[in-house]
Symmetry: C2
Subunit: 337 residues, 2 copies
DNA sequence: CAGCGGGATTTAGACGATTCAATTCGGCGC
DNA sequence: GCGCCGAATTGAATCGTCTAAATCCCGCTG
């Protein structure tokens, strides 16, 4: 009933376990006739290789952990897609882990992955200085930071978030806005901080623009809507005329609140989001957004990881940085005078 | 450099490996002083338990595979969320696998999970009669079908899709529609077939309603948009006045196409989707949708799995079926006369 | 015909944790 | 002082696979 082991296969095929193992791992070196006989026996017995035993022997697994902040955010699923496509080629498996922007959950996932002796970990960390990450690496599990720049000690793949913030800021200021709000959080997260910093820089250069920072705990639709409801309640004079949301989910939620309050987008309030997820273009008012190449990020991260493992000595850590684009759609396509 | 083994810990703490193992697995039976000493050593050495070795010995892992048709579909991420919440309580880990409605990818994931001696598998299969699934179970990996009813040989958790189809059909017919289109696919997928069957039944009962079935390969936004573009090109006389999409992504795509073609929703074309994902309510025109309790599905599936493993003998397979609700929003809120 | 080369196959020893039967030890009752 | 009990701890076997070194076998060469 239990699946047979390599030993039973060997016995039934009249060969030794070593040969069966060779058929599995280096088929080229075993004689064609023998190979076929073993393969047939494997078929007949329904043998399934025991990865646990293999990992134990080899000392390392073939699972790549991909720890993201929010699986419900299409940005991350696109990213996962990219990573997975490459993993497949390297005969490795991606395990998608959702930290939900919660350091505790994140830690839990990291523990699990380390116990499994994961092949490596791709992570969008809550805090990229978390000593835990260094610990992982020190103990032998390679880590690549995703959507977050590392400082030399690690490989990383990221997007220039400050530039993203500047792009959004420049666009809004050039469109005539003089009261702008930034929505995002937690501000301790580097990505968020950078997007905000980019915007802030631009605002300061412009001189006569008022900027309000609104921090949220979690960047989901619900929080965006909540902030939107608050702003909608303000008088038109004190309300910002444009908001820049640190991701599209916030922006979509915010947009819903505007619709509910009968405020016009972009005339009463312009909105720019971040990530350019598929739903952004499909929103009630198509959403302007700072686009990040999610799939490419994932693919590149996996590439760095495989490279790091394959020749560990020659490897030097690299930090790859991509450029974001601003995609202007209806939600901010209005010049205020 | 490599993480130390239980043996080193034992040596450094001046006890035997058996005791260390006991500290890890049955702390209660070891003397407090010894326990503390061992724990301190574990800390000091940075020992991390090797899951592979554990699994090998125990014969089964602690990973639960959750194989879904599309991770980008919020319905499935909600489902995953539900499953994960329960997994945590049982000291087990969820591995999210994306089959992308592709039997080959699905098979690949199943192979991986079986090789890992997964604790169990929760799957929304492409084809629920796939003999592979029976094979898995026969060889000892428990399987629970999700969002799909099983026929006694397996546990399953599903939603009454025929009822969902009837709810949508009744609503549209009562709203005065007499030319209705169904969009979904592949029709070989039970869920899709059932949703269509429910609609068809209702249409036949009404007598004077024309029904068109439009099959798509994949139920994503892009395909919905494509179908929408085709229908928009028809003359108003031949065009259906209402469409029922087998999931919300299709519906959202379809909605985009209507907007692009300057057709009014719901006046020119009414739309009802399926799943009631978060984005449905946030769409350009808030989307009517047949709601499924995604989180509950996931949670219940995990419950059945744990139950099945915990007392394998007493266990009888169960098929849990939930009822869907129709949520009427603006996209179909219009009575045609 | 002895010896050799080399491809094919076998053998045996890890890998690290779990488990359970066996052992040790201190104390307690008689 | 003896024997016994139970709690705490030990030790060894085991899980299934990989791998490096050893062996086997054949045909060929000199």
């Amino acid at each position: 009933m239990a699946t047979p082991s390599i030993k039973e296969v060997a016995h039934r095929a009249g060969v030794s376990v070593g040969t069966v193992s060779n058929v599995l791992n280096r088929p080229a070196i075993v004689a064609p006739a023998t190979r076929q006989r073993v393969l047939d026996t494997i078929q007949a017995l329904g043998f399934v290789r025991n990865e646990a035993a293999r990992n134990l022997r080899v000392g390392r697994g073939r699972t790549v952990g991909l720890v993201v902040l929010d699986v419900a955010n299409p940005f991350f699923t696109d990213l996962a897609e990219g990573a997975e496509s490459l993993a497949y080629e390297h005969d490795t498996v991606v395990m998608l882990c959702n930290s939900k922007t919660d350091p505790v959950r994140e830690g839990h996932h990291l523990d699990q992955l380390e116990q499994q002796r994961a092949f490596g970990i791709l992570i969008t960390p809550f805090d990229s200085n978390d000593p835990r990450l260094r610990g992982l690496v020190a103990r032998g599990t390679p880590v690549v930071l995703v959507d977050r720049a590392a400082d030399g000690g690690l490989c990383s793949v990221s997007v220039d978030d400050k530039l993203g913030g500047r792009l959004a800021g420049t666009h809004l200021i050039e469109s005539g806005h003089r009261r702008i709000a930034f929505i995002g959080g937690p501000l301790t997260m580097q990505q968020v901080a950078d997007r905000q910093a980019g915007l802030t820089t631009t605002v300061e250069q412009a001189g006569d623009v008022a900027l309000e920072i609104i921090e949220v705990e979690v960047m989901g639709v619900a929080h965006g809507r909540a902030v939107g409801e608050d702003l909608a309640a303000l008088s038109p004079r004190s309300r910002p005329t444009a908001v820049f949301c640190a991701n599209d989910l916030l922006a979509l939620g915010f947009l819903q609140a505007m619709a509910a309050a009968n405020l016009r987008v972009p005339q009463d309030v312009a909105i720019v989001g971040y990530d350019d997820i598929g739903f952004a273009a499909a929103a009630a008012v198509p959403l302007s957004s700072v686009r990040q190449p999610a799939g490419l990020l994932g693919r590149t991260a996996m590439e760095l990881l495989q490279e790091e493992v394959e020749d560990a000595d020659r490897h030097r850590h690299r930090q790859v940085i991509f450029q974001p684009d601003l995609v202007i759609r209806q939600s901010s396509d209005f010049v205020r005078r």
